[in-house]
Amino acid sequence: MALPKRRHSRARGRKRRTNWKITTVNVVECAHCHQARLPHHICPQCGYYDGREVFAPGQES
């Protein structure tokens, strides 16, 4: 079975992991209820998209 030839230092692993970064989620203000929502998504608070109610929160299709 394949095994590591050399010891792998903590610094090596940590250097690799410096590039594991999280990105901030882009949120925009809902034009109808002024709460935060995802861009190009129906507002989860008021169900509005593009100036009209599309899908009410909690409503099942």
Binding site: L38, H41, I42, Y49, V54, F55, S61
Partner: protein
């Protein structure tokens, strides 16, 4: 990135995929708006638009073509009697997909697909049907 895939396979066999999309199209004609995953919604939209385009021709051949997908007789009648007349002034773009967020549990992106017909007034299903019939009679 799958830009050249004319058919999104959705992890299903051809028969499974065609059956599922057909059922989804019928649900959409029945309810005007359905909630589903983004990938399925995007696969459904071209199918629905093609069915309506064919249905608008209103010939016997077109009806038979549509009946291949719209197997439910009730939905078939509704499509020709209620939905197609509402698209008289439109030649394409009969449906729309809007993103809805992610599903709790598996994080799948969800969307709603809707027909660009007039929104029926909010009432429960049984009353809804009566109102639609009354409205179409006007």
């Amino acid at each position: 990135m799958g830009h050249f895939d004319k058919v999104k396979k959705l992890g299903r066999t051809k028969s499974h995929r065609e059956a599922m999309l057909g059922n989804m199209a019928m649900s959409l004609f029945q309810h005007r708006m359905i909630k589903t995953t983004d990938a399925k919604a995007k696969a459904l939209r071209p199918l629905v638009d093609r069915i309506i385009s064919t249905a608008k021709k209103d010939t016997l051949a077109a009806k038979r073509q549509v009946a291949k997908t719209v197997k439910n007789k009730e939905v078939f009648k509704k499509l020709f009697n209620e939905i197609v007349p509402q698209f008289a002034d439109r030649t394409s773009g009969f449906s729309r997909v809007i993103k809805l967020g992610v599903r709790r549990g598996d994080g799948a992106p969800l969307s709603v697909v809707e027909l660009l017909t007039e929104k029926p007034k909010k009432v429960d299903d049984k009353k809804d049907k009566k109102k639609k019939k009354a409205a179409s009679g006007k």
